[in-house]
Symmetry: C2
Subunit: 681 residues, 2 copies
């Protein structure tokens, strides 16, 4: 591989050890629950035992009197909730939902919904005291199933919520918060042209990311009004934004210092505990740590949407698709906002669909609020479409891979949900599957099968910031605003080293807190190595340009006469002066002070990417048990900065997909009040 200067890449594409490897392998890395501060108190939350109930009263007096308890908070202590109670405007409804999901005010909407919190001398005391908070409930019928919840006669989770659609807002209240729709061409005409049509409905379970590390945070509200929070999160600035709105507090007075993260997968962008810990800290004048149990993580943090997906695709006898239609019913959980944008974005995106329609329904149910989870919302509808594609291939007598090759989206293909495909590697990906030994390997033995699936994901760019300080010994300190959840400190340092033409060990990357680096979006959407990488390359080029100016000053030549190649600055020409990076670094104080390269970017352009997987399975016909025999992933990853980390992403994605497909799912909540059960009885 060669860089823009025509040289072989020296650092990019290699597989150095991760900079965080030793810390993590030896147990020295500090994760969310590891934060320890003098005079630390421990917080615990009282959670709802009911999936749906009105809160009639909350009496915290017994908890407050419990020995070892320092403070108790409820929704009444949440500044934004107080303001909203005074006057709730149209624009505030999203904030009200976020307040209510932090600490319930009038109703509880799922089992595990937070109601109140206690700060005490230790976690056990806090837990015991939380159980002494007396809450009077009026239990209401709960609705768990997305199709049941969408019915007109379903119990309403939010009494005043209306369905938003392009046509306007519904008159009657409904659990369907949003109905999104995209249409391309004329689906009716398309289906009329089809020789055969396959229509299927599939259901996917509500599943949780199940990161190893539970949610945790530690908040310290200082006497000077500064709030410092150490959360486990994918994005320190996102937590700061949420705290600022929940607490009605200026951003500059909130400092979020992210810890190491023990897995996130899209589930650690929402702030669950931080505002509660902050309020407890403000009341007690001491730092307060809150760590969820595994059960709390399942009960009260984002699973991703369980779904019902209806897919209908028509094709000609020759296998060419004429029309496709998809309806996506997504559980939003207790508050609107299921990741439908992801589902609608990818459901038909891998194929060239002449006429198509996508309907997405964002439906509240009595479950924890749904969160993003690896290619948010994309997995269920692609799973559904790929079933239908396989059936169409079978019915038209086409090889499933050839069927996909025939109908694949190409450069210029208009997507049903809007936009046009650019920079498309669908052909290369499918051809790589076809050429792979796995695809043509014999599949011996009974009850065995091989399947392929094909999909597209859009990726993301966004805002990233970094600073790059040149030290006087020629080493470099790189501070990025991106939390490192997948080894990005290493992949970002590699891009700095490559651009600076230095060895990797000269670059020390760290994750900044919100006070020490510019605004940076969270580490999600496959954006970090790319967008923060652009920031890092920008900062490195900035530093080199500044150092060229310093060399020019020393040599008394114009800055444009100085060039930098392979670690050395020169003024050009035979016998001209030279300085290595380290030699020039040592001269910075006498040439104007330190050099700080800055890279603050908002990346607006990025490519989508295609992937295809091949899997061999054996099915036990007695038990239904499925054994994975062989699994191959083909992915257009772009330029792999650190191939081992890219492979790790693909391996982890495959394993989580297998778990979702075969094993995982949320079951039975508070059945006593389940409307579907009652209705059926």
């Amino acid at each position: 591989m060669t860089n823009p200067k025509g040289d072989e890449y020296a650092v990019i594409g290699t597989r150095p050890p991760r900079v965080d490897a030793a810390d993590k392998a030896t147990g020295r890395a500090r994760f969310g629950p590891d934060t320890d501060l003098p005079r630390l108190l421990h917080g615990k939350i009282l959670r709802s035992p009911h999936a749906h109930a009105r809160i009639l009263s909350i009496d915290t007096s017994r908890a407050e009197a419990f020995p070892g308890v320092h403070a108790v908070v409820t929704a009444k202590d949440l500044p934004a909730a107080q303001d909203l109670a005074a006057a709730l405007g149209e624009a505030d409804i999203d904030l009200k939902y976020r307040c209510d999901n932090t600490l319930a005010s009038d109703k509880v909407l799922y089992v595990g919904h937070a109601i109140a919190a206690v700060a005490a001398c230790d976690p056990h005391t806090a837990e015991q005291a939380a159980q002494l908070i007396d809450v009077e409930y009026e239990v209401l019928p709960a609705v768990m199933d997305v199709l049941d919840a969408a019915r007109e006669d379903a119990p309403l989770i939010h009494e005043n919520m209306r369905t938003w659609s392009l046509a306007g807002t519904s008159e009657a209240p409904s659990n369907v918060a949003n109905h999104f729709q995209s249409v391309k061409g004329d689906p009716e005409t398309g289906f009329a042209e089809a020789d055969l049509v396959v229509e299927r409905e599939i259901r996917t379970a509500t599943v949780h990311h199940s990161y190893i590390e539970p949610h945790a945070t530690t908040a310290t509200w200082g006497p000077d009004g500064t709030l410092t929070v150490h959360p486990t999160t994918q994005g320190a600035f996102g937590i700061r934004d949420q705290l600022a709105s929940l607490l009605r507090y200026p951003l500059s007075k909130i400092r979020v210092v992210p810890t190491e993260v023990g897995g996130a997968f899209g589930g650690k962008s929402t702030s669950y505990l931080d505002a509660v810990a902050a309020l407890l800290s403000r009341k007690t004048g001491r730092p307060v740590k809150m760590v969820m149990t595994r059960a709390e993580t399942f009960l009260a943090t984002g699973p991703t949407s369980g779904t019902v997906i209806r897919v209908k695709i028509g094709a000609k006898k020759d296998g060419r698709i004429t029309a496709a239609q998809a309806a996506l019913y997504y559980e939003a959980g207790a508050f609107p906002g299921a990741p439908l944008w992801g589902g609608m974005g990818v459901v038909l995106a891998a194929y060239d669909i002449p006429h198509g329609q996508i309907d997405g329904y964002d439906v509240v149910v009595n479950k924890p609020k749904a969160e993003t989870y690896r290619a948010p919302g994309g997995t269920p509808p692609v799973f559904a479409v790929e079933q239908v594609i396989d059936e169409l291939a079978e019915q038209t007598g086409t090889d499933p891979l050839e069927f996909r090759l025939l109908n694949r989206a190409q450069e210029g293909t208009q997507r049903v949900n809007g936009g046009v495909h650019t920079s498309v590697s669908s052909y290369e990906v499918l051809k790589a599957v076809q050429a792979h030994a796995h695809y043509s390997a014999p599949l011996e033995g009974p009850h065995r099968g091989r399947g392929i699936a094909f999909g597209h994901w859009g990726n993301y760019g966004g805002s990233s910031s970094c600073t790059l300080d040149v030290n006087s010994d020629g080493t470099v300190s790189l501070v990025t605003g991106s939390v490192d959840i997948t080894g990005t400190r290493t992949s970002l340092a590699m891009q700095a080293a490559e651009t600076l033409e230095l060895t990797l060990d000269r670059v020390r990357p760290t994750v900044g807190d919100t006070d020490s680096v510019g605004y940076t979006e969270g580490s999600y959407g496959s954006r970090t190595t790319m967008a923060t990488g652009v920031a890092v390359v920008t900062a490195a080029k900035d530093a080199i340009a500044q150092m060229c100016e310093r060399a020019a000053m020393l040599w008394n030549v114009p800055a444009e006469a100085v060039s930098y190649r392979k670690g050395t600055f020169t003024a050009g020409g035979d016998g001209s002066p030279q300085l290595t990076f380290a030699e020039l670094a040592a001269q910075l104080p006498r040439t104007g002070g330190a050099v700080t390269g800055v890279g603050n970017v908002h990346v607006d352009e990025w490519g989508g990417s295609f992937g295809a997987h091949i899997v061999d399975v054996a099915v036990d016909p007695e038990t239904g048990k499925v054994t994975i025999l062989r699994y191959t992933a083909v992915q257009d990853a772009g330029r792999a900065i650190h191939p081992s980390l890219v492979e790790g992403q693909m391996q982890g994605g495959a394993v989580q997909g297998i778990g979702w497909a075969l094993y995982e799912g949320y079951r039975c909540y508070c059945l006593s009040s389940d409307w579907s059960e009652q209705k059926a009885a």
Copy 2:
């Protein structure tokens, strides 16, 4: 006061509460000894009971076997000391001195000299175990007095040390490390022209800064090789530099996170404990905290030089000075490097001396290594000169103030120690004294007197860095590399607010660690509010320029069409678009990402400043006790950013000067081996 735009200053010159006030007033600020980390060990140092002795052997086995002890280190563990033992080059001698002052290798040179250190489960165990380290000494004669030490027959503290002077290096070894000399004109001629000459010798005691907070540090050597240190210091980057050389370790792998500082006054720039704590942490794999006792701080950290000063000044009958000569003998302590540069710089600098000579002698004695202390080295010789000036005034029958007005340095006056006075306020300062009610107030009662003193100090600029991030709510996060020892977070934030034309509460200043901001020299030499202030103003202007570009992008006009006044960006002209700072801040992501203003500067120009004090005292003729009746300080402080903080500097300086003059001083060391005593006996 008006700013360069012609507006009244809105923030500069006001007296807002310090941003650290609440934290400090409520005891929540975290000073060096407050650092607490999980699995923390505590380190203690074994110190020499002898003022001068050869170390014959060190046996750490009993200490290592002591229950609760985790590690013991000696000079053998210090990487630089190992390298130097292998091959000591000419250039390494300063590093060898620094190694030996960290942990003694072959000799101990003062009572309290560090020899070995123990890390244990608690400080008491560490202290007890340190006493179990067996050291065999050959006690040597010690020399305490600076004039005795300079004698040819004095015991040598460093057997191979020669006197450096402009004439070359002496043949014979000596305790006089350096003899500096400055000459202006022809002193002999000058004294020949004088009608009268006064010559005096004064002695000043060895005194300690006596900051409230003792020296403390906590070091964590991570398994990934990163060393993180939390010291109480005036300069995080200086500590990093010292650690890098003592430990032979790259700068980028050392992160220094400065704590709040409980007083420094020039005494907290040297790293005493950090390398030792780092080595103990590397050996144990755990964080190690070391906190000195008050006694250790006196015994082993920089006092400032005790001195002998000889001053001779000649004048005409009319009071005009014709010549002056000063000889400065400074205790360097156990290693060369007394703050003679400061003493020579100011000794004759307040006056216009036609012919002059200054000789400075840097003399090692068996005391802790001398450190800088408020106008380093300047106080003793100015005290001596002002005595002589007063006598000359008396003998010529001139009013002491008029005498000073007559002979004061003016713009263009050549200094004896080189350089020319610029931007001189000597007249204004002395006239302010003359006009002050104190100067003409009657002095009633017996045994009372009034004195004045007059002096000049050079100040300093140097390297400072900061970054200024604009938050989306229009608040600003300001990270500077300057440790805040005197309220500089506030005075720097004020300069940012003034430049950004925002209220002060919109700017949140913090002190960065060495990983998060560019190289910044320590907070000494009265440089922080000035030089880091220049960095802050630079960064604020950079941020405004970037924001003008963003506004131009939104309005589709050239960047130079956009101006910023009083918190609002406009494109100029009637009805043109406007955006407040906060409104534009909210638009940053969609216009290219975050805005980070950078100010990395090396300030090469700065003004010196004059000051004069008036004091009334009463002396008890029976006991000699002196009571301060009234004290007035006049100081050319330049533009006072925060007048209360400037006043605090003057008050503190006066109080420390009074203490030095009347009460303080180091007395008797290990007298058993005192060469002066033995010689006399």
